[in-house]
């Protein structure tokens, strides 16, 4: 019969391994996020900024229009970066909760009732 210390120690090790596995998976996901979402959209924005600049040079756009359109492109860049930021946080949340869940299971098993939810 393992002691409470042994049970919790084992659970934390299992939780850490689960977190490491989740981190490895998330790492692959985030790499794919950058390849599939961030880079293509940044390329699109680069092309649109070039288009706006050229049309201003050609006199098709007024200064007001060009400034507005470029401000919106800047907003779109922020959105892309913030989206990947929130996905990183989301993966941290997933890893953290995997470890917390393992700890709660071990503690509840040791005390014989639901102490941690």
């Amino acid at each position: 019969m393992p002691t409470v210390l042994e049970q919790i120690s084992t659970a934390l090790q299992a939780g850490a391994r689960a977190g490491a596995t989740a981190a490895s998976s998330a790492g692959r996901d985030l790499t794919q996020d950058v390849e599939n979402f961030v880079i293509p959209h940044l390329q699109d924005i680069a092309a649109q900024v070039a288009s706006i600049t050229q049309k201003r040079i050609d006199g098709i756009y007024t200064d007001v229009t060009a400034q507005d359109l470029l401000a919106s492109e800047s907003d779109a860049i922020k959105t892309i970066i913030e989206t990947i930021t929130s996905l990183v946080v989301y993966e941290v949340q997933t890893i953290l909760n995997a470890i917390v869940s393992a700890l709660a299971t071990a503690v509840n098993s040791a005390v014989g009732f639901t102490l941690l939810k």
């Binding site: 924005i45 092309a47 779109a76």
Partner: protein, 250 residues
């Protein structure tokens, strides 16, 4: 670099303090409703872009046209509806925000005052949950910049305000009793002018420039300059929700 590393560790502490037995929620959970609304709006924006491209230089693309006004108002409502969903599921300020603040401070410190003052803007992400800021920017685009840019590029000089006022009134009073309809004098003032060929050509070029599509280096069709950023923002919301979606919803 060493200082930045210490700041990073200091920022990690509040996050670790949360490891105490309950599940953490740093970002808004998946919302099928939010994902659907963003998808529907993206479809609507794309369709409207094609319509405006074809109508460039005519009354149909003029920002005074009731249809154009109504479309922008619809999108404004769509964004507000999505923001309302977000408010209902937003986890609020968390220890994660403090952690992000520490990271931001460490990065700015590492970059030095010159780099940070040159950017002249707030940190890119101040909160772990970023949707509220995204909706706020989308609203600015739809309610302020787009109407202003349409006035600059698509307002045709040979049509008067009275012409569009009469158009709006005719639509509002279709089937209404006669006294509610435009009076003859007002109708006369609302008669359209006739552009020269050069005027018509210039108006079409200036307006169509906002909606012209092109092909990226990767072979993708790019949206026009006016709706491109909005499309990117909607795509970001859809992508994010898709990543958070449970397997059964993917």
């Amino acid at each position: 670099m060493r200082c930045a590393h210490k700041a990073f560790l200091a920022g990690l502490v509040p996050v670790l303090m949360f490891v105490g037995g309950c599940q953490q929620q740093f970002v808004s959970p998946y919302s099928a409703d939010l994902q659907k609304r963003a998808t529907d709006m993206l479809t609507d924006v794309s369709t409207w872009e094609g319509t405006m491209r074809n109508a460039a230089g005519t009354a149909a693309a003029d920002p005074r046209n009731p249809d154009v006004v109504a479309k922008l108002q619809t999108w404004n409502g769509d964004i507000e509806a999505m923001a309302t969903i977000e408010v209902s599921i937003d986890p609020g300020s968390t220890a994660c925000d403090k952690f992000l603040g520490e990271i931001s401070t460490a990065v700015q410190s590492a970059l030095g005052p010159t780099a940070t003052s040159a950017s002249g803007s707030a940190p890119i992400a101040a909160h772990c949950e970023t949707l509220p800021d995204i909706f706020s920017r989308m609203k600015t685009q739809v309610s302020e910049r787009m109407p202003r840019d349409l006035v600059q590029q698509c307002q045709v000089p040979w049509l008067s305000d009275a012409y569009f006022a009469a158009m709006a009134q005719n639509r509002a009073t279709t089937g209404a009793p006669a006294p509610a309809k435009p009076q003859p004098a007002a109708a006369a003032a609302a008669q359209p002018g006739t552009p020269t060929a050069a005027q018509a050509s210039l108006a079409k070029q200036r307006c169509a420039a906002l909606f012209d599509t092109s092909t990226s280096a990767g072979g993708n069709t790019l949206h026009g300059d006016l709706v491109g950023p909005l499309v990117t923002e909607l795509a970001a919301i859809i992508y994010r929700e898709g990543r958070e979606a449970p397997p059964a919803a993917k």
